[in-house]
Symmetry: C2
Subunit: 121 residues, 2 copies
DNA sequence: CCCTCCTTTTAGAACTATTCTAAAAAGAGT
DNA sequence: ACTCTTTTTAGAATAGTTCTAAAAGGAGGG
């Protein structure tokens, strides 16, 4: 029984989808006030390793953890800083067609204004 | 006369195109052995600000400086770790067509095997 | 039960690339 | 030469993450 790992996973799964380590830490402390940040990192690594979640690093150095491990693209809101999903249809194929380099994988993050912030404007 | 800034720029311009700060520091010390790393960073910021060079951060956290400031895409070789240019034709338009989110800008880095490493294999 | 082994957790130190600070030095303009 | 601004320096500080070694916890066998 790996309670703390389960708690880390649960916090992420019950979230909006994309959280940073310190936010996960804050939320998981509601259940386990004594938990230490290193444990959160341990478990985030383990969960990433086992394919339950996905690790996303932005160019500005912010690390997010994504409750959806399957491949999809992301966008970062320039107004509120939230990371949201941005499913781009047939992006991988389109990308490979536009270059002769063999594409092993790619890191893409769009900078956008998310619908929430757009509505407020 | 801003000798050290010019030296930083020159080192980058005479390079293969994409260098990390510590590599620039090493090379520029051949001209100015007493230069300090903070000066390299100062000047890299200033040169980025003035549009002479471009700052590229990869998802793994490595910061590269690019002697070509005009927009173009990049690829990171999974074998040797070098950052190379990867011009993708009409990428920006293509990207905007595939989503309804307004694209302010984007960060894209392909992971590839560069021609050099491919030849060696 | 109890022993052993393996995994998880903890506390806190360490790390590393970058940034900050305050003072010294250098340059430019008058 | 004087003043003002920019550049450079040395070294401390920062921040997010990782490492370390020890302690705790849990699983399974005897």
């Amino acid at each position: 029984m790996v309670q703390k790992r389960a708690a880390v996973l649960q916090v992420l799964q019950e979230s909006e989808g994309h959280l940073q380590a310190d936010e996960i830490y804050k939320r998981v402390k509601d259940y386990y006030p004594k938990m230490v940040l290193a444990t959160v990192y341990n478990n985030l690594h383990a969960l990433t390793e086992s394919g339950h979640i996905r690790h996303i690093r932005t160019m500005s150095g912010a690390d997010f953890y994504d409750k959806t491990p399957t491949p999809h693209e992301h966008a970062l809101c320039t107004v509120c800083g939230k990371l949201i999903d941005a499913d781009l249809c047939d992006f991988a194929e389109m990308l490979q067609k536009s270059t002769t380099l063999p594409i092993v994988s790619y890191d893409l993050i769009l900078h956008t204004v998310c619908p929430d912030c757009n509505d407020k404007a």
